[in-house]
C-alpha cells in the first residue's frame, strides 16, 4: 500500500528530524568552552545551586548516559530547570505560552483571510490589478515586521487612539499585534495562492466551468481555491515557524507578555535551559505541522494516491 508507506515515511522522517535536533542541542551544550555547570547556571551563584545542577544533569556520569538521560527527559516533557528563575522550565513556559499561541493563531487566520481575498480578487483579471497586488505583496514581505508595528502604533494608537498601546488585556490589545504579525505572511501567502490559481485558471477545465455560466469570483472561490491550497500547504510548516519567530519581535514591539519576552529576557540573563527549551519547542512545532501537512497533502491530492 504505497499510500500508507508514504505516510509512515513522513512520520519517520519527522521523528528523525526531531531527534537530530535534540542531539545537536546536546552536543552544542557540551562543546561550549568552559564548564557546563557555569553555562547552565548562567553565572549565577546562590546557596545550593551547584548541588542542584549536578544532581539534575548527572554531570558526574559518562557522556552517553547523560545523553540518554537528556533525550529521555525531553521525550517525557521534562525540560529541566531554570536556575536563573529558580523554577521548572516546563512551568515557566506553560505560564507564558498562551498569549503567544493566541497571537500566532489570530495572525495566521488574518493572514489567510487577507491572502485569499487578494488572490481571489486579482488572479487572472488583467495586468493592472495584478501589478498592484504584486507590488503590495512585495512591499509587505520586504518590510521589517517591527517597523510595520511602529507604523500601525503611530497611526492607530497614538493618533487615532483606537487601540491600546500595550499589554495583553482584552481583545483590543491583540488586534494591532495580530495584524502586524499577519501582514508580511499574508504577502507571501497571497503570492503563492495567486500564482497557483492562475495556473489552475489556465487549465482546460476552467473553460468548461465558464461555459456553464459560473461567474468569475465564484469560479475562484469554489473551484480554483482548492487547487491553490496544495502549494500553500507545503508552506504551512514554514509559516508556523515564521509566525513563532515573528511573535518574538511583535511581543517586544507591543509590550505583550508571552514566549517572546520570556525568551528575550532569558537570553539577556544567559538562561540556557529556557532558551534551549523554547527553541526546541518551536522546532518541534514546525516539524510536527510540516509532517502533518505532508501527510495531508498526500491524502488530499488524488493524483498522489493512486501512484
Amino acid at each position: 500500500m504505497p499510500l500508507l508507506r508514504r505516510i509512515l515515511v513522513r512520520l519517520a522522517t519527522g521523528a528523525l528530524v526531531m531527534w537530530l535536533s535534540v542531539t545537536v542541542a546536546f552536543l552544542a551544550l557540551h562543546a561550549l568552552p568552559g564548564h557546563i555547570e557555569d553555562v547552565l547556571a548562567g553565572d549565577m551563584n546562590y546557596p545550593g545551586l551547584h548541588e542542584a545542577i549536578a544532581q539534575e544533569w548527572g554531570l558526574n556520569r559518562s557522556l552517553p548516559v547523560q545523553y540518554a538521560d537528556f533525550v529521555g527527559k525531553i521525550a517525557t516533557g521534562d525540560l529541566g530547570t531554570s536556575y536563573v528563575m529558580r523554577a521548572k522550565v516546563s512551568e515557566v513556559i506553560a505560564s507564558q505560552i498562551l498569549p503567544t499561541v493566541e497571537l500566532a493563531l489570530l495572525a495566521g487566520i488574518i493572514a489567510a483571510a487577507i491572502a485569499t481575498a487578494l488572490a481571489v480578487a486579482t488572479s487572472g483579471r488583467g495586468e493592472i490589478p495584478r501589478s498592484i497586488a504584486s507590488t503590495l505583496e512585495m512591499v509587505l514581505t520586504s518590510s521589517p515586521v517591527f517597523w510595520i508595528g511602529f507604523l500601525l502604533l503611530m497611526l492607530f494608537s497614538f493618533q487615532l487612539k483606537l487601540f491600546p498601546v500595550s499589554g495583553g488585556d482584552g481583545w483590543r490589545a491583540i488586534v494591532l499585534p495580530a495584524i502586524t504579525l499577519a501582514l508580511p505572511t499574508s504577502g507571501l501567502l497571497a503570492q503563492v495562492l495567486r500564482e497557483a490559481m492562475e495556473r489552475a485558471l489556465e487549465q482546460p477545465f476552467a473553460v468548461t466551468i465558464r461555459s456553464r455560466g459560473v461567474g468569475e469570483t465564484a469560479i475562484r472561490f469554489r473551484h480554483m481555491l482548492r487547487h491553490a491550497l496544495l502549494p500553500a500547504m507545503t508552506l504551512g510548516g514554514w509559516l508556523v515557524g515564521g509566525l513563532l519567530g515573528g511573535a518574538v519581535i511583535t511581543e517586544k514591539v507591543f509590550g505583550r507578555p508571552g514566549l517572546g519576552s520570556l525568551t528575550l529576557s532569558a537570553v539577556t540573563s544567559q538562561d540556557v535551559p529556557v532558551v534551549l527549551a523554547v527553541v526546541l519547542l518551536a522546532a518541534f512545532t514546525h516539524v510536527a505541522i510540516s509532517t502533518l501537512l505532508d501527510i495531508a497533502y498526500v491524502l488530499v491530492d488524488p493524483r498522489l494516491r493512486s501512484q
Partner: protein, 296 residues
C-alpha cells in the same frame, strides 16, 4: 520571519509561467523602470557603504543636545534623534552594518549550501539522505529563534548574528543545488564524458558547476534581502551591534520610547530597510527572468 518574508524563494522553486515575450505580446525593454531604479538604489547603497561621508553632512555619532528631537528641516533632512544626532547621516552610515552583515550571512549560506548540496547530489544514497536530514534540522528552527540560541551560547555580536542567519539559510541553497546536481549526474552527456575517459574532476568543473551555479546567483540576490531583514530584527532585539552604532535595527529600537512625539527617528530607517530589500528582490527577479529566457 525571514524565510516567510522572503517571497521569492518559492518563486525560484515553482514551475515558471510563460513570459510575455513568449506569449507573443508587445515588446518589452530588457530592463523595466523598476529594475533600473533598483539598480540605481543599490549603487547608492554601495556608495553609502564605501564612502558614507560623501552623501551625508554630519557625524553620525556626534549629537548636539540643544537640538534633540527636531523634526525634518532644511538643516536636517531627516530630523534629529534623542541625542541630537542627524538621522540622515545615521541612516547613511548604518547602511554598511546592515549590508555587510547581511551579505556575510548570505555568503555563509551559499558556501555551506553549495558544498553540502554538491556532496548530497553527487555522492551515494547514504550521504544524500544524511545531508538532507541536516537540511531538515536546520530548516526546522525559525531563523530568529536559531539566532537567539547562538547568541545565548556565544554572546551577542555582529559575527555571531551573521553566523546564525547564515546557518538558517543553508537549506535554501543546499536543496536547490542538490536537485540540480542530481539532474546533471544522471544526464546523458555526463555519462558520455565518463565513457570518453574524462576524470571526475574535469566533468565536475565543465558540466556540473556551471549548471549548478546558474541557480545560485538568483537565490543569493534574493537572499540578501532576507538576511538584511533578519539582521535588523536581531539588532532591534538588542542581540547584534550595540548603541551608538547606527545600524538600522538599533535605530528603530532607540526610536521606540519617543514614538509618541517623534515619527522621524523610526520612519526613515524603516524606509531604508524596506527599500533595500525591495531593490534586491527586484534585481533578483530580473536575474531569474533573464536566466529562464536563456534556458529556453
Amino acid at each position: 520571519m525571514s524565510d516567510v518574508q522572503h517571497g521569492l524563494t518559492v518563486d525560484a522553486l515553482a514551475p515558471t509561467r510563460p513570459t510575455a515575450t513568449q506569449r507573443g505580446l508587445r515588446w518589452r525593454p530588457p530592463l523595466s523602470a523598476a529594475v533600473i531604479a533598483a539598480l540605481a538604489f543599490v549603487v547608492l547603497l554601495c556608495i553609502a557603504v564605501a564612502a558614507p561621508q560623501s552623501i551625508s553632512f554630519y557625524d553620525p555619532l556626534r549629537g548636539n543636545f540643544l537640538q534633540s528631537l527636531q523634526p525634518p528641516s532644511a538643516a536636517h533632512w531627516f530630523g534629529t534623534d534623542r541625542l541630537g544626532r542627524d538621522v540622515l547621516s545615521r541612516v547613511v552610515y548604518g547602511a554598511r552594518y546592515s549590508l555587510l552583515i547581511g551579505v556575510s550571512a548570505m555568503l555563509i549560506s551559499v558556501a555551506g549550501g553549495v558544498v553540502l548540496g554538491v556532496f548530497a547530489g553527487l555522492r551515494n544514497r547514504f550521504v544524500d539522505e544524511a545531508i538532507s536530514r541536516v537540511f531538515d534540522v536546520l530548516s526546522a528552527f525559525p531563523s530568529v529563534l536559531l539566532a537567539l540560541l547562538v547568541v545565548v551560547f556565544l554572546g551577542a555580536s555582529m559575527v555571531n548574528v551573521a553566523i546564525a542567519i547564515g546557518l538558517s539559510g543553508i537549506p535554501k541553497f543546499g536543496r536547490v543545488v542538490r536537485a540540480r546536481a542530481r539532474l546533471v549526474r544522471e544526464a546523458d552527456y555526463v555519462t558520455h564524458a565518463f565513457i570518453y575517459g574524462r576524470t571526475r574532476a574535469s566533468v565536475f568543473v565543465r558540466h556540473l558547476l556551471p549548471n549548478v551555479l546558474t541557480a545560485v546567483p538568483v537565490i543569493a540576490t534574493l537572499d540578501i534581502g532576507t538576511a538584511i531583514l533578519a539582521v535588523s530584527a536581531l539588532s532591534f532585539l538588542g542581540l547584534g551591534p550595540q548603541p551608538p552604532t547606527p545600524e538600522w535595527g538599533v535605530m528603530l529600537a532607540e526610536s521606540r520610547d519617543v514614538l509618541r512625539v517623534a515619527w522621524w527617528p523610526s520612519v526613515f530607517p524603516g524606509l531604508a530597510l524596506t527599500a533595500t530589500v525591495i531593490a534586491f528582490t527586484l534585481i533578483g527577479r530580473a536575474l531569474q527572468a533573464h536566466f529562464e529566457r536563456r534556458a529556453r
